[in-house]
Symmetry: C2
Subunit: 368 residues, 2 copies
C-alpha cells in the first residue's frame, strides 16, 4: 500500500478514514499524543501503544534545540532515537517559535529567534525546517509557516497568510519527491473567513497530501473555533486528510470531527495528568480534591487501561497529594487512554452511521 489517505465513510459530518504510512496504518479520526522532546511525557512508548494510539507527534523546534538534530539523524531518525515504532508526525516549529521563543526578526527568508532554553540565537526557515524533518525521518511532515498570536488585527493576519504561502511553496520544493512521506499544508487566517479561504485556495494550488488548520485553540472561544471550522470545512479537499492542530479538550475533538476534521494533537491529556486532572466518561475530575480521599472506585471502568481501572481514586488522590511521579504516570496514561477510547467510539459511530446520535448523547457530557 502506498503512503496515502483513504476516506472510508462519511456520516453526519464525521469522516472515517485511514492514513497509510511506512510505519503503520492510522485509523481516523485520530488523536496523536504529543512527544515534544522525543518522549510522550511520563509514559513509555509501550504504554502509549497500549492505549490504542497509532501515531505520535514530535517537535522540530524542541528537538533542534535539544538534543540537536545531528544526534538523532546519525542513528537513523527519531523512531530509532526514542525507540518508537509508531508512525511520527513532526510539527515544523512555526507555532513554537511564536509561542515559546523570543523572536528577534522575521524576514522573507525565515525567523531569527532566541532559544527558550539557553537564549542562543537561531535561524529557522522553510528549507531548514523541512530538512530537519527529513533528518528526523518523520512519516508526516508539516510545512513551515508563520503562526501569529490570536489577534483581531486583520492586516497582521493577512501579512502572516501571505508570508506563509510563500513559505509553503519553499517547503514543498525542499520536500521534493518523497514517496514514503506525506507533506501537509497549514491553513492560516485566524478568525477571518476570507483570509482562511484565501490561504486554503493557495495551498490547494500548490497541492499537499493533507491540509491542517493552524492558529486555532490559541485563545479564541470554542464557538469561535467551531465557526471557523463550519466555514472552512466544505472547502477542504474531500480526498485529503484534515488536521486540526493543537486541539483540544474532549468536546473540542467531538465537535471538530462533526465539522469534518480527521486528525488532532494536544498536550492536554499528558499535561493535565501531571497536575492531577483526569478526563473520564463521567466528566473531568481533579484528583487533588479531598472528596476522592475515601473513593475506592477506579477512575473509569469503561476505559480499557490498567491506569483507568486497577487503582482506586483514593490511592490516586494520595499519590497526587504526595507529589509522587506515579501520579503523573497513571493519570497521563489514563488520559491518553481516555482520548483514544473517545476516538475509537467516534470511529465506531461513524462506521455504523450512528454519529448524529453519538454526538448528541456525548457532547454536553464531554463539555462538563
Amino acid at each position: 500500500m502506498s503512503v496515502s489517505f483513504k476516506l472510508l465513510n462519511e456520516n453526519a459530518g464525521g469522516r472515517l478514514g485511514q492514513i497509510i504510512t511506512t510505519h503503520g496504518v492510522i485509523d481516523t479520526p485520530a488523536f496523536m499524543p504529543v512527544g515534544t522532546a522525543a518522549t510522550v511525557k511520563s509514559l513509555l512508548i509501550d504504554q502509549v501503544k497500549s492505549t490504542g494510539a497509532q501515531i505520535i507527534l514530535g517537535n522540530t523546534y524542541h528537538l533542534m534545540l535539544r538534543p540537536g538534530i545531528e544526534r538523532i539523524k546519525r542513528v537513523g531518525g527519531l523512531h530509532q532515537f526514542m525507540n518508537c515504532n509508531l508512525p511520527i508526525l513532526t510539527d515544523s516549529g512555526g507555532f513554537q517559535v511564536m509561542s515559546l521563543s523570543k523572536i528577534s526578526k522575521i524576514t522573507d527568508d525565515g525567523v531569527y529567534f532566541n532559544s527558550h532554553i539557553d537564549g542562543k540565537k537561531i535561524f529557522l526557515s522553510p528549507e531548514i525546517s523541512i530538512q530537519i524533518q527529513k533528518d528526523l525521518n518523520s512519516d508526516i511532515v508539516m510545512i513551515f509557516d508563520e503562526c501569529p498570536e490570536y489577534t483581531k488585527d486583520k492586516n497582521r493576519v493577512l501579512k502572516a497568510v501571505n508570508l506563509s504561502i510563500d513559505w509553503a511553496k519553499k517547503s514543498k520544493i525542499e520536500f521534493g519527491n518523497n514517496p514514503n512521506k506525506l507533506l501537509f499544508g497549514i491553513v492560516q487566517g485566524g478568525i477571518f473567513n476570507d483570509l482562511r479561504k484565501q490561504s486554503l485556495d493557495q495551498l490547494i494550488e500548490i497541492n499537499f497530501d493533507g491540509y491542517a488548520l493552524g492558529g486555532l485553540a490559541v485563545g479564541e472561544s470554542q464557538q469561535e473555533m467551531f465557526d471557523v471550522l463550519d466555514y472552512i470545512s466544505p472547502f477542504l479537499p474531500r480526498e485529503k486528510a484534515h488536521y486540526l492542530m493543537g486541539v483540544g479538550t474532549p468536546s473540542d475533538l467531538l465537535g471538530a470531527v462533526k465539522r469534518g476534521m480527521d486528525m488532532f494533537d494536544c498536550v492536554l491529556p499528558t499535561r493535565s495528568g501531571r497536575t492531577g486532572l483526569a478526563y473520564t466518561w463521567t466528566g473531568k475530575k481533579n484528583l487533588k480534591n479531598a472528596k476522592y480521599a475515601l473513593d475506592d472506585t477506579p477512575l473509569d471502568p469503561i476505559v480499557n487501561c490498567p491506569a483507568s481501572n486497577s487503582y482506586s481514586k483514593s490511592y490516586l488522590n494520595h499519590l497526587v497529594n504526595s507529589n509522587e511521579i506515579l501520579a503523573s504516570i497513571l493519570l497521563s496514561w489514563h488520559n491518553v487512554a481516555f482520548y483514544q477510547d473517545l476516538m475509537q467510539k467516534i470511529r465506531d459511530a461513524i462506521k455504523n452511521n450512528n454519529f448524529e446520535n453519538f454526538y448528541k448523547e456525548n457532547f454536553e457530557l464531554l463539555n462538563s
Copy 2:
C-alpha cells in the same frame, strides 16, 4: 507451607534461603525495593515485579502521616491500597522518626515528634507501631526501636539499646499470636561490639522470626559496617533470616552477603535513578555526563530489562538533561533490575558453591 524462613545452602559465608509468606515466596539473599509512601518511586508495581523483585518495603512513619492508616486499613491493607500482590515488609517508623522528624520527647512509653510534612505533633510507641503494621497487613513486621544517629558516645548508644529491648518486648506482646506474619527484632548497638552482642542476646531471649541489624549505613565507612557484621554474624541464629536494614550500594550488598546477611532494602536504586545515576556491570554511570551524548549502546545488555537494553545512553542522556520524567522511570527501572540481577547471580553462586569466586571476581568492580 507455613510462614517461615528456610536455609537451603551455605557457601563461603553466603546463605541461600527462602522466606515463605502468604503473599509468596522470597528467595534470599533478597533485595527489597523501597515503596516508602505506597509506591516504589517512578515505577508501576508490574515493572518492579518484572525485575524479579519478590518483596517490597513500606514505611509506617510515612503512611501514618499521609494518607493516614485508616484509609489503608478500610480497604484491607497496603496490598489492596497500592494494588500490589507482592509480599510487603513494613518498617516500624523508629528510624524515620529519628532521621526525618523533629523529635520533641522520648519517654519510656514512646516518642513524641513533629511531622516533617505539616509539623503536626504525633506520638508513636511500640504498641501503636505494631497496631499500624497489623492494619497495613504487611507480611513481615518490624519491632519499634530507638535508632540513634551515628555517634561514638557509648552511653548514648547503651541507653538506646536498653530502651529498644524494652520496646522489643512490648512489640512482641502487641504482635501476639499471628501465624500469617513474621515479626523481626532489630539489633542496635552502633559500632560497639559489646552493645551489639548485648542487644542480640536479649532479642534472642524474647525470640523473633528474624533478626535485623539497625543503625548501620548511617554515616560509618563500609569497613566499619563490615567490621560490625564480621563480629555479630556468628551469633545470629542460623535458622532465622538476617536482615541488614537500609543497605546499600552494590558492593555493600555483596560484602554483607559474604558476612551472612539474607535481606536488604535501600532507596539507592530509585533515588539514584531520579538523579541520572545508573549502576551497571561495567560500573556506576552518571548519564548527565556529556560523554554519553553520542553513545548509542544500551545501559547494560546483561540486565534483562527493557530499560537496560532497549534505549541508548545517548537517548537517556537527552532525557536526563531535559528533566523528563521518563529519565526517572527508565533509570529507576534499570537500577532496580540491576540490583535484582546482582542478587540472582549471588544466589546462583551460593547454590553452585561458587560464591568465593563470584565474590573475588566482582567485589572490586562493584565498588568502582
